[in-house]
């Protein structure tokens, strides 16, 4: 199969999908770099304290405990970041699968948190209570949800919160992204997002006015009698 044929069959990631993957990994690795930097500085501080004691400056046990707690805190933070990135990366394993939409969106929201905080915007995720199962491509689904979050963030107001809410409905499943915005979006970003939503097997609706924007992605879900596994 030639590269052209592979691309035509949909077996390859598109340029936009690679850009999405790149945006997530760039943000996450930047945050991981910060975690490593903190551990590096904290370990260095310990060396400074030891060197100080050799010059006769006693080490405070409380301070030592604080240094140890900081290293443990950042180690846990780093492990959390790696786990989220790993779950995200595995979304490309199979183009068609059944997945828990709450887990997938929750993970994506956590991965997006730093991008939002650079705009001084908080993210709040509200999962359903029913662990809705979706059938489809989880990577493309995430790209659609991420696109909606990025679209609201792009015109979002600093010091506000964008809410991402999953809602199970009788014959479908909805992800809504809502936040305070400073202006109207152009047609371009919404047309792009609409195309991504369709690719993910869903549709997009936009409600905007009064300084608020609400983007809704509507999908069909597999009927499931399973409860939440954890």
């Amino acid at each position: 199969m030639s590269p052209q044929e592979a691309g035509d069959s949909g077996a390859e990631l598109s340029r936009n999908e690679i850009a999405f993957f790149g945006k997530i990994t760039a943000s996450v690795t930047h945050e991981l770099n910060n975690v490593i930097s903190i551990i590096e500085q904290t370990a260095g501080l310990l060396e400074d304290m030891i060197a100080g004691e050799e010059r006769g400056v006693p080490i405070s046990i409380d301070r030592l405990a604080g240094v140890s707690a900081a290293i443990q805190r950042q180690t846990q933070r780093g492990l959390g970041i790696i786990g989220r990135l790993n779950r995200f990366a595995h979304a490309t394993d199979r183009p068609e699968t059944v997945f828990d939409a709450d887990e997938v969106v929750g993970n994506l929201v956590e991965l997006s948190r730093r991008l939002a905080s650079l705009r001084k915007i908080g993210l709040e995720f509200r999962p359903t209570a029913t662990a809705p199962k979706m059938s489809g491509n989880p990577f493309v689904f995430q790209r659609a949800v991420f696109g909606a979050v990025q679209t609201v963030l792009a015109c979002g107001l600093a010091d506000h919160t964008v809410t991402i809410e999953n809602r199970a409905e009788s014959h479908g499943f909805k992800v809504s992204v809502e936040g305070a915005t400073s202006g109207e979006l152009g047609e371009g970003p919404l047309a792009d997002l609409e195309a991504v939503a369709e690719e993910a097997g869903g549709s997009l609706t936009v409600e905007s006015g009064g300084g608020q924007m609400r983007l809704c992605l509507q999908f069909t879900v597999l009927p499931s009698t399973e409860g939440r596994s954890s």
Binding site: T29, S37, T42, G44, L45, D48, A70, S117, L118
Partner: protein, 122 residues
């Protein structure tokens, strides 16, 4: 010269508080700001010999903070601390007004050396 006074501008609070303490061990009085607005406010009211600035900042972008510092306080040397993916041009890695830039994670003794060089104190 008086004891060196340095301002660190970075949104990772645990990172900058630790660096402030470590710089203190090396005879440098350091303060920190967690975003660009706070940093610029401190520069307006306090005297610093050098600024250590991360380009990835919440709210006011680091590049804009840098622009304002260079424009309003051209005599204060700026050292950039960047992570991978920061907007540094690989062809011209030192924007105007920047004395030097260091990649995270930064070795503290290298940072101290660069700060002293920047303010002309070897």
């Amino acid at each position: 010269m008086d004891q060196l006074r340095v301002l660190l501008i970075d949104d990772e609070e645990e990172l900058v508080t630790t660096m402030v303490e470590r710089l203190g061990y090396r005879g440098i009085t350091a303060e920190y700001a967690l975003d660009g607005y706070e940093g610029l406010a401190k520069i307006r009211t306090q005297a610093y010999h050098a600024i250590v600035l991360d380009l990835k900042l919440p709210g006011l972008e680091g590049t804009e903070v840098l622009r304002q510092i260079v424009h309003q306080y051209p005599d204060i040397p700026v050292l950039l601390i960047t992570g991978h993916g920061s907007p540094i041009d690989p062809v011209d890695p030192k924007p105007e007004g920047v004395y030097d830039y260091l990649m995270k994670p930064v070795k503290i003794d290298l940072l101290v050396q660069r700060i002293r060089e920047a303010v002309g104190q070897k």
